[in-house]
Amino acid sequence: MKIIVCVKQVPDTKGGVKFNPDGTLNRSGMLAIMNPDDKAGLEAALRLKDQYKAEVTVITMGLPKADEVLREALAMGADHGILVTDRVLGGADTWATSSTLAGAIKNLEYDLIITGRQAIDGDTAQVGPQISEHLNIPVISYAQNLRIEDKSVIVKRQFDDRYHVVKVQMPCLITALSELNQPRYMTPGGIFDAYDVELTVWKRENLKEVDDSNLGLKGSPTQIAKASDKVRKGAGEVVKLDVSDSVAYLMDKLTEKHIISL
């Protein structure tokens, strides 16, 4: 079985966020980590590797520095790492990102593609399903659990108030929730080995069946009009009322903020 896991190097949002003048993110100013949902997806793949000797290829799109997440994935036990990096791919929105990754994946054989549900920087949850569309394969988002049965994957798919157990034919794409599992740690030996192997690096010309008009900033249908830090709120108001007025005041505020609705 061949599994492809898409991972993203994301800024650790705990440390605050910086922007370039054009509104895109200044990623170099922040500590970079492997996106948590992606890590859960990788762990799911590695468990299938442990169980069925699956071959796990990890792919990421990003700056050359994104090789770090591939090394991390290798140190956890992945077999191969592919870095898709090219200036013309920069500034991509989810459409252009999914076009790029699909263009890279078209070079590979696979039974299963796993992506994280969403990245903690963009929080869009769009790239996984969009890749499946470009590849014309079925997608199951929000996987809480998964197992293999012959040529199918049985997935516990989370919804807001329920879950479905669904059976999907491979090849397919699954998006993983961090609840899926507790990712393993790297091992020190794995880390040392990970830096001794050559990663595969792909540029624009290595992408298959994708038009320039779908790549990078220029190929992104959505454009940033404005970006800013969250506005820190000033001091609030304090009231001293009798009980019924206090309650009325609170009901008022809760309604106004849509916490409760009339």
Binding site: E68, R71, E72, A75, R184, Y185, M186, T187, P188, G189, G190, I191, F192, A194, Y195
Partner: protein
């Protein structure tokens, strides 16, 4: 000369950091209070390869260098002195001498078990009457046929009751050197469960409370001859060389304790408000922090340099002694200042630095006191 860590080491550091943050930090207060050995944590460390970092892969280890092992001790110590010394004693004091002095058979028999963490190691030199002065050894081993009969009591043994494999130093005879009679000292590998090997008092300590510090009692304990480590009579050299390596581990522990206390303090002084501003805005706080940071950095350079020396040189006694001396004294000073800068909160267990100060003290004592380190260093200077 390159003072930057390689990418390998940086990634290893991030592994140790997340392991410490997720698995070690949440238990640190509890381990200190209950004085219970953190067995679960050790099992987790085993699972991700931390119990055999500088061990060649052919013996089931991780095949990494000394520095990457030392950095692990350091990171663990940032949150838990107990956990860090468990790793240090296991790796530096048990695995290392077997790897260095063991026969092929001994290595194949013991190292894979130890490096995988399936078994835990310990080292027993100290006795009631013999600490720094190894000639004071009273534990005796007498050869009877193919077995050594071991009698005596070791004390203050780290990983004491929890270990499975022990390096035990004992007197195997008397030799004459230049007219004076001296004890002949040898080293043995002793397995837990050997008849005649039992545990005495559990020591109650000021700090590193979860590390299992026990008396080991040998009462006609029979050790097969093939378990002698190194040649007969070479035990003193083995012990000293092992301690040289161990000191780098303790130096890393001290460094980690200092860094941990410092990090907690920096966070605290930014948040703690007095007289309408954070106490970090007061010059006294700033000067204290500057001194702490500088000493930590100096200690780190000494510790990493010693680790590199162990990697590349046969003898690294002086580097190890300097690293341990300076890091331990820095740990003590930094943790003491950390408590002071925390004010009343610093004296409260929940604020961590109180424990770190207690934990730090032992680094000036075990595996050679600071005075012993000075003897080693001075001996080299004047030779």
């Amino acid at each position: 000369m390159d003072f930057n860590l390689s990418k390998k080491h940086l990634l290893a550091q991030s592994l140790y950091r997340s392991f410490t943050e997720n698995e070690v930090k949440p238990l640190a207060i509890e381990v200190d209070e209950t004085e219970e050995f953190p067995r679960e944590t050790v099992n987790k460390m085993a699972k991700c390869g931390l119990m055999g970092i500088p061990v060649p892969k052919e013996y089931g280890g991780q095949g990494c260098d000394v520095l990457s092992y030392i950095m692990c001790v350091e990171e663990l110590a940032k949150e838990c002195g107990t956990t860090s010394v468990i790793l240090s004693a296991h790796t530096s004091l048990c695995i290392d001498p077997i790897l260095t002095y063991g026969t092929k058979e001994q290595k194949l028999k013991y190292i894979p078990e130890l490096a995988s963490g399936r078994k835990l190691g310990a080292f027993a030199l100290t006795e009631a009457g013999a600490g720094t002065d190894a000639q004071g050894q009273q534990t005796k081993a007498v050869l009877q046929g193919t077995q050594w009969i071991l009698n005596g009591t070791k004390c203050f043994i780290t990983n004491g009751k929890e270990a499975d494999i022990y390096i035990v130093i004992a007197v195997t005879g008397i030799v004459e050197k230049r007219g004076t009679k001296k004890k002949e000292i040898s080293a043995f590998i002793v397995e837990k469960g050997t008849p005649g090997f039992s545990f005495g008092t559990k020591e109650r300590k000021m700090g590193i409370n979860g590390s299992s510090t026990y008396e080991l009692i040998f009462n006609d304990c029979c050790i097969p001859n093939e378990n002698m480590l190194g040649a007969k009579g070479k035990g003193f050299g083995i012990a000293m060389h092992t301690l040289d390596g161990g000191r780098i581990g303790i130096a890393a522990q001290a460094l980690g304790l200092a860094e941990g206390a410092f990090d907690h303090t920096v966070k605290y002084v930014k948040e703690r408000m007095q007289f309408g501003r954070s106490i970090g805005q007061f010059q006294n706080t700033q000067f204290q922090l500057a001194d702490m940071a500088t000493k930590i950095e100096a200690a780190k350079l000494l510790v990493y340099k010693a680790a590199k020396a162990k990697e590349n040189k046969d003898s690294y006694s002086v580097e190890a002694a300097m690293a341990k001396l300076y890091a331990a004294e820095t740990a003590m000073e930094v943790t003491r200042k950390a408590v002071q800068l925390h004010g009343g909160y610093g004296y409260i267990k929940e604020y961590e630095v109180e424990r770190m100060m207690r934990d730090a003290k032992i680094t000036e004592i075990y595996e050679g006191t600071s005075e012993v380190q000075r003897m080693v260093i001075a001996g080299n200077v004047l030779k």
